[in-house]
């Protein structure tokens, strides 16, 4: 085994830190169910003004690496808002046409839940969002989402179905998979944090449920899943040959962590208002798209 450094570079650390604090400030750490079906607590203009959608563009040796984007995506996932930052970063990284466009950019992926020839478009419901016809090798152009149909499975992803699908280069498909896996590990981290807080406060039998060993061990397992999900995303970012399987494995671990977080919440865990299902829906949709991207790798 070669021992590589697993640390992100300076740009990854700085951008992740800035994104993390901006999201915490914008949401005031409110429960996701209070805002995810309405207006985003953060505006796209705030993102564009900070230039975050351009952070993945390769200019010189100090530009963000995929490892840096993992750090950024994880920070982004830690507070879920309904904005197309990650698809825009990746589209602008892999297409100069997308990079020159001022607004958000997305793409369309044919997945297992869709009829042949149609694709799932993350944030396709957003007015004026542009979609790439091809991504990678600097091919493709921007279009409005063709044949748009709203798909409301994952409200935080504002997905739409389209009658067209994007053609991905192997590199673009690989990198998008890795970035989404990292985002999911951030989402899972947030869900486990919610479950830990709930277990400290919720009482049964006169004690916080978090004092019971059965609950503790669920949370310890959930925490380990998140740790490993992050590790798998880092591995995927540094080892292209294993990127796709690493990303899918990472997403599976994040899903397990969110499932355990729901379990720890007891009956509240499967209510709409507690909001944990938004995380689960988001990560399941990401897994569906990442699995499909494997066909392009």
């Amino acid at each position: 085994m070669t021992l590589l450094t697993t640390r992100p570079g300076e740009i990854g650390v700085l951008a992740a830190g800035a994104i993390r604090s901006a999201l915490i400030k914008a949401t005031d750490q409110a429960n996701i169910s209070t805002y995810i079906e309405g207006a985003s607590p953060l505006a796209w203009d705030d993102i564009a003004d900070a230039g975050w959608d351009l952070v993945g563009i390769h200019e010189d040796e100090d530009s963000a690496t995929l490892r840096d984007l993992v750090e950024i995506a994880k920070a982004w996932g830690e507070t879920t808002v309904q904005l197309p930052l990650l698809p825009s970063i990746m589209a602008k990284r892999h297409s100069s046409a997308a990079a020159e466009h001022e607004g958000p950019v997305t793409f369309s992926i044919h997945t297992q839940s869709l009829a042949a020839g149609t694709g799932l478009v993350p944030f396709g419901q957003i007015a004026d969002i542009q979609m790439m016809t091809e991504l990678g090798n600097d091919n493709g152009s921007l279009v409005s989402v063709p044949g748009l149909v709203v798909d409301d499975f994952a409200p935080s992803l504002l997905t739409a179905q389209s009658s067209h699908t994007t053609v991905f280069s192997a590199d673009a498909a690989r990198e998008i998979s890795v970035v989404w896996a990292a985002e999911a590990s951030g989402i899972a981290k947030h869900a486990v944090g919610d479950a830990v807080a709930y277990a400290k406060q919720r009482k049964q039998f006169g004690k916080p449920i978090g004092s019971f060993q059965a609950v503790k061990h669920h949370l310890a397992n959930a925490h380990m899943h998140v740790e490993q999900a992050e590790t798998a995303a880092i591995w995927a970012s540094l080892d292209p040959a294993n990127a796709h399987r690493g990303a899918v494995h990472s997403l599976n671990l994040s899903i397990k962590a969110i499932e355990l977080s729901i379990q720890v919440h007891g009956g509240m865990g499967f209510t709409w208002e507690m909001g944990l299902h938004f995380y689960l829906r988001h990560v399941i949709a990401l897994r569906e798209m990442v699995t499909a991207l494997g066909a392009h790798a």
Binding site: L3, G210, S211, K216, T231, N242, H249
Partner: protein
């Protein structure tokens, strides 16, 4: 050839260590260790500790002022990985180097450091660990081995168990109760007891696998001098925590990774052509590589940060449960060529989730000390 001190990058250190290992791992061990007698095997392992010292590879991450190499955990992990790949012997000096040395550096006197560290690093003195007892396993604070104060020292009486290297050890790092009336965690003291004296009885423990890695040790009024007590009376628990929470976790995980990788390679070699097993093999293979990446991530964490401590419990649970999974899979799918290996490995790895702090204790540590859940 430049000395180790001149080599700063991971690549350079890796190259130096690999070259040294290839030149120094004994051929008899590499090629014929199965046919060596226990005595011959112990001789090679003991000599290996001295070779490491002469080659400048003993105490890699211990500070230079204490005779170490002044490098970091990164070099420790690289070296252990390479040593396992080159099939280097497992030395006998392990307990002294990874448990006694950090305890002495943290809590010992100048005199104790001068008396013990050089022989620990040179490999001349073998140590064993006297912590666990028949009635104090996961509840380590419950040790009842007594240390009764006498003129110039203490008399030790009690039973220690799961003691590796007991037969060869000159010294035992021993946790005993000095004040039964004091509150829990304040009634214990750490000693460095001379194992070559009367009153010590060893009984080997035969394990479920049929192998015997440990002994039970009975002490009857065994003397230990005042100058061989670490720190003050009543500080034994704190000293034990220093010992157990030093950074051994990632070194242990690295050695285990190489062993599990070798088991995984055997699975792939013997079962890789069975399409019905492909998915499971793929999943196990990925978990094996994740252990390696988890270690790489852990050693990039600042050792003084609480994150590092968090990382060691996670690594322990991951490698131990994975090793059980690979050996269980091997057993379920064994062939005439691999049956002996998997039967033994399956029984041996029943222990991996129990030793080095049981996985239940590790999960308690994660949930209470990392996640802050109430006790």
């Amino acid at each position: 050839m430049p000395t180790i001190e001149d080599r700063t990058s991971r690549e350079d250190f890796t190259e130096a260590a690999r070259t040294w290992l290839q030149a120094n791992v004994p051929t008899r061990w590499k090629e014929n260790r199965g046919s060596l007698t226990e005595h011959e095997s112990d001789d090679i392992r003991h000599e290996w500790d001295r070779q490491l010292h002469r080659g400048g590879f003993a105490g890699l991450s211990l500070p230079k002022e204490f005779g170490g190499q002044g490098l970091s955990m990164i070099e420790e992990v690289i070296f252990h990985d390479l040593a396992a790949q080159e099939q280097a012997p497992d030395g006998l000096a392990r307990i002294g180097r990874i448990l006694t040395a950090p305890s002495l550096i943290g809590h010992g006197t100048e005199d104790q450091l001068a008396r013990f560290l050089p022989k620990i690093l040179s490999g001349d003195e073998i140590w064993c660990q006297g912590f666990s007892e028949p009635n104090a396993g996961s509840d380590l604070a419950g040790v009842t081995t007594r240390a009764v104060k006498v003129e110039g020292g203490y008399l030790i009486s009690g039973r220690k168990t799961w003691t590796s290297f007991a037969k060869m050890a000159q010294r035992c790092l021993l946790l005993a109760q000095t004040d039964p009336s004091a509150p829990r965690h304040k009634n214990l003291t750490m000693f460095m007891l001379d194992m070559k004296q009367p009153g010590i009885t060893l009984s080997p423990i035969k394990q479920a696998s049929g192998l015997s890695h440990f002994a039970e040790v009975q002490f009857e009024d065994v003397f230990v001098a005042d100058e061989d007590r670490i720190s003050e009376e009543g500080t034994g628990w704190q000293v034990a925590m220093t010992t157990l929470m030093n950074e051994r976790g990632s070194v242990e995980a690295t050695s285990r990774y190489v062993e599990i990788r070798s088991d995984m390679d055997l699975l792939l070699k013997t079962l890789g052509d069975r399409p019905e097993l492909r998915m499971q093999l793929e999943e196990l293979d990925m978990r094996v590589e994740l252990v390696h990446w988890q270690v790489s991530k852990a050693i990039d964490i600042d050792i003084d940060s609480p994150d590092f401590f968090r990382a060691t419990s996670i690594m322990k649970v991951l490698w131990s449960e994975l090793w059980q999974a690979t050996s269980t899979f091997g057993l379920e799918n064994m062939t005439p060529e691999t049956a002996d290996h998997w039967r033994l490995q399956y029984l041996e790895t029943r222990a991996s989730s129990i030793y080095s702090g049981s996985n239940e204790i590790q999960r308690n540590i994660i949930s209470e000390r990392v996640l802050g859940l109430p006790r």
